[in-house]
């Protein structure tokens, strides 16, 4: 039985997969070069061949949006591509902002089956 489990696990590990990855898991906001703003740097890696675009957002504990600024809210990230981006929030939102999330964007009509939207949320260190 255990051997069968390992065989199934081995087969599943060998299957081609498409991954979405964002770090750090626990970013820390630091003062930006502009007064009244805080900034943190995030890094993303796209190993999903079926996804080219990602959207980032900042949210509070209840996943309500918090105002933020970054170079592009929706950006293109090629398959196997890395990108680093800065997220700026207002100092007054320091205690409100809880999560920085990135979500895969799936093109309408690009799939003929069930598609999977992936979303990773990092928790901001208070």
């Amino acid at each position: 039985m255990r051997l069968l489990t390992y065989i199934i696990l081995g087969i599943m590990l060998a299957l081609p997969v498409h991954a979405h990855e964002m770090v750090p898991a626990y970013p820390e906001m630091r003062p930006a070069h502009v007064d009244g703003l805080l900034v943190t740097t995030m890094k993303m890696f796209n190993k999903r061949a079926d996804v080219e675009f990602y959207e980032v957002g900042v949210f509070d504990e209840n996943f309500q949006p918090v105002p933020f600024v970054t170079a592009y809210n929706i950006f293109k990230l090629e398959y196997l591509g890395n990108t680093t981006f800065d997220i700026y929030i207002r100092e007054q939102d320091r205690n409100r902002a809880a999560y920085i999330c990135s979500r895969s964007k799936i093109r309408k009509g690009s799939s003929t089956s069930t598609a999977i939207s992936s979303k990773i949320c990092s928790k901001i260190i208070k």
Binding site: V17, V23, P24, A25, I106, K108, T114, S118
Partner: protein, 174 residues
Amino acid sequence: MFNKTIKSMAILGVVAIGSGNTFALNAAEVPITGTVESKCIIQTSTAGTYGNPNAYTLSTQQADGGDQAVVRFDVTLADAYYAEITPPTSFSSSPSLPDQVTWTGTVEVQAVSDATGMGTYEADKLEIGNTDRYTLTATGSTWFAIHSTATMGGNKAFPGGTYTAVAEAVCVAK
């Protein structure tokens, strides 16, 4: 003339050896660096397909001719993440529909890389509306199977065409 040629060859040789050494030194000093960070990776193993067992049902069940969607979560830090998975609740693209569609969906743990540490994931899951929340208490990989069924109201038939629905897999740091 002969001496001059010998001298030139010797100079060339020294230069060549010199460059070779420099190259060798540079090659030996190429650093490879890396950072290990705690992270959660979402891998879409199988996107899933709908079967059409009768005119008014689309289903990902194998018995109905479909394929379940499978998503894998890899975590490198124990008890630091939630996996939240929501089966589809609408079509993202479809032909014009004649009636309301009723959606049902289930999520279940299909396989784990650590049976001891992850064995209770399914029993401990929390159902929040359509979303199933799992606390990823151990490091390693977990495969989740997502089943989805769409039923057309009034037993009307699904019009011919391509249908796409999106399941959502979310990894949230605790």
